[in-house]
Every structure is written in C-alpha cells, then in structure tokens.
Amino acid sequence: MSASLIIARHAVQETLRRRVFVVVLVLTLLFLGLFTVAAAKAFAAQGTFQFGNNGPVGPDGIASLTTVTLLGLGVFGSLFLATVLGVFLTLGAVSGDAERGLLQPLVVRPLGRRQLLVGRFVAAAGVCTAYVTLLYAAVLVIVHQAGGQWPHQIIGPGAALIGAVTILVAMSLLGSVFLSTMANGITMFMLYGAGLVSGLLASIGAALNAHTVQTISHDIAIALPFEGLYEAAVHAFASNAAGLARIAVNLGPFGAAQAGSTVFYLWAAVYFGLAAVIAAVGFERRDL
C-alpha cells in the first residue's frame, strides 16, 4: 500500500473512531427530516399559489418552480453540511497537527511530505464526496416523492456539487499549511460566506440588470469557483423551465443566475491544481 493510502486510511479511521460519522449522521437525518416535511408542505400548498393572477405561469410551471426551488434548497443544505464536514476534517491537518506534535513522528518517516498531504486530501475528499453524493441522492428522492418530478439534469449538478466540495477541501488543506487551525477555520467560513453573497449578488444583478453587480459577482465566482460550481448545479435544475417560471427560479433565494461553462469548469480544475501545487510547495518548505 502506498504511503498516501496508509495516511488516508488512518485519517478515515480517525473519523470513525472519533464518532464524527455518528454526529454527522444524526444531524443529517435531522436535516433530511425537516427537508421532507418542507417538501411535502410546499407541494401541498402550491395549489393555492397565485402567480400573476393565473396568467403567465400555469400549474405545470408552479410545480416546476416548487421542484427546482426545493432542489436548490436541498443542494444548498447539502453543500453547507459537506463544507462543514470537509473543513473540520482538514482545517488543522498541517499547522494544527504540527502544533500538537502529531505530525512530526509521521513526517520523519520515509514518505514524502507531498504523499502525506495527498493522503489527507484523499481521505477528506473521499469522505465528503461520498457524503454529499448520498445527501444529494436523498434530496432528489425526497423531492420526487413529494412532487412526483425529477430534475431535468441529475448527473451534471451532482458532479458540480462534488467538484465544489472537493475544491473547498483543497482550499482548507491549503490554508492548513499556512494558517493556524483557528485562523484557517475562520478564513474558510468567511470565504464560504463570500461565495454565498456572490450568488445573491448575481441574482440581484440579473433582476435589476445591473452589469457592475453582475461583474462583481462573476469575479467572485472566478476567485471562489466552489460558488460557481454550486450555481451551475442549481442553474442546471431549471434548464428545462421556460418563461417566467425559469426567471422566477433563477431569481429566487435558491436559484442561480449563472450557468456553468466549459471554460469555467476548466478554470475550476486549474484552480484545484494550483491549490494542490501551492500547498505541496508550502509544506515542503515549512519548518516543523
């Protein structure tokens, strides 16, 4: 077994032994329970929903609006929970473990520091990918059970969601090379918050047709591609909606005005690669 896999297995064992999964499972079930109730209530109430005096959006449009909004909410919750999990698994991976004296006995072993970093990444990204995939699938099933509709696209948004979580894990690991545990945690959640604000700005900019606001939002999405990937996932849910329903979805609190593009996905991959290289070089040069 390679050194990276040994480290990855050790890290996964830690999450199991420390009952991280038990806590995550309980909170996740709580989230899914609330989401199930919310979905059932939303579809039950849509018959009374008036949109434009029954004019521009018919019953199908309202059902589509409800479905996509719930999916957006579900994906938002999934990303948030996976982010919390991913950040807490990695925020002290280098600086924190070095401060506590956990890292030194491992680093002096005949494995490269890069391998150690890769091992920690594989463990955290693997756990978070599995988690967000299961959560995403649960959200889809719950919405389908409540409203009888599947989103137009399933694989693409799921892949974008996994990409967003993977980038967040890479960013947290990168931060752990240069920042203390507390500073890294604060930084990660502030960046996550900045991403959310960026998404809201995009919606506001699109609603008001304010190009400057849209440009700012676009630039933030470039700087924080996890947000762009999240928006791409949510935007894809409404790709088959038409007319006012689609506009309403895109402008809603759990909609997204920005679609993904090949160039953006490539940039996200490059961004991930840059984070990995900077983390590896920073760790190689760091005194422990």
Partner: protein, 298 residues
Amino acid sequence: MSEQLTTQTGSEREIDDAAIPGPALVAEGLEKRYGSVVALAGVDVAVAPGELVGLVGANGAGKSTLMKIACGLVRPTAGSVAVFGAPAGSLEARRSLGYLAELFRFPGWCTASEVLALHQQLAGSAGGRAEREELLELVGLSDAADRRVEGMSKGMQQRLGIAQALIGDPKLLLLDEPTSALDPGGRRDVRRLLLGLRDRGIAVLLNSHLLGELERVCDRVVILAAGRILTAGRPDELTQTGGVEIQTGDGVRRFPNAARKDIPALVAELVAAGVDVYEVSVIRSTLEDVYLHALEDE
C-alpha cells in the same frame, strides 16, 4: 522494561562495518536562523556507528534544532547534515533513522499497538506483530498493547515514543529528551536500553537536561550554548579531578592538589604517622560542574 538488548557486551558487538557506510551523522557548518533569532551558528558534530553522543545546553541553545535538521523537519540556513552519507531529510536518510521528538503526541484514539503498526507501515518494516510485541516488551508496555493512547500516562506515552523510534531497526537514533517524563525507574530502564542499542552498533544522538544521565551513558558529550559548541569530549575527559579525600580515625582529610597517583604516598604517610585510614576517594567534578563552568566562561 526488558533487558534483552543489554545483554551484549562491547566485545560481543556484531557490527557489519562493510554494511555501514562511514559516520552515522555528520553536521558541518550548520547554521539556522529564525528571523533575527540565531538557533545554530556554525555547528560541526559527527556521530560514529555504535557511538552514543549527548547534547547538553540550556533551553534555546540549539539542541532540538540540530536534531530537527538531522531528521529533515527543519531546513538549515547554511551548512549541511548527512545521515550515513545521504542528505538530511532525504528519503534515504529517513530510512536510516528513528526519531523521538521532545514534544510529540500520538493520536489519542489509537492503541499502542496501532501506533506502532502505522509506523511500521510508513517505515516499510516487515516486522509485523513480532516486532511490535518485542518493542512493547522492551519499553515495558506489554500489558498496554491494546490500551488507547488517551488512556496512558505521560510516562507511558514517552515509552511508546521510544518504541516508535525503534521501529524498522534504525541505524541512527535521535532522541530529544527521552526521559523527561519518566520516573527514576523509567530513566534507569532507558539507560540500559541505550547501552544495549549502542552495543548493537546503533548510533545515538541524545539530547537531555539530565546531565547525570548523559555522564553515565554517553561516549561523548557536546555542550552547546547560543547555537555554538562550547566544548566537547568524553565525560571522563571533561570532568577533572578535584583532589583526594581520605577518611581517617580523626575525620575526613582533604588534599585539594593531589591526584590519583599521589594516593599511595599519602596513605603511607598517614599510616606511618599512626593515623587509621578507612576510605580513600578521588574527587571529580561532575558534568554539571563542567557545564556550568563552561557557561560561566562564556
């Protein structure tokens, strides 16, 4: 703690000289600065296979930094360290050494056996369960193999740290304060262990504030202050005679300028004078005296 490593005498050492290329550790012109703080200011140290060298110095003298550079945790500002000819920090160098950090911790959720198993895998040791059991017995933790680290005392964790450092049969052992958390019995056990390792041809660089320990076990002692070597040598070279003390029927008589060679004449003189002589001892300065004296001179 088992004494199985202490049974060999020096004459029974089986060191395959051909298999050990040159000195275990060579540091040349080693410098390390942390910003404006100078941790090491040009240190030259060598440790031969089967040699036990002690590092002495006040806090901040550079002892731990020297060890960290030797095992690749810290990069030197200038100079170099080679471990069996390989640059410190290289994979080849790390394959040859075992290290116990001054401030270390193992994951609290792991058992002692799991800690050793992890390090076996990372070190590429094929020793398996037999090696783990042997090492745990060696450090007196046979009964704690399945105990979680978080349930161990500091002394037990330090013993586990020593066992961890010995995984894979390293040719060079770097021990930074290995007895700081141990009780007197534990320190005696570590002394025996170190002597046994030396007899097996393992080079040991030992950092400790316990000068009495170093004086008892080390072949050579290096005294560091402010990142420089103040003095170095065999303990018996560094410690000097401070006269002769003779217990007589009239009380203790001291001869501060006398040396060992003067004892027969002194005793003969006293006996001829009708004085009863009960005990004769040569007064030697301790390593602590030497160390404090060296610091005062500095």
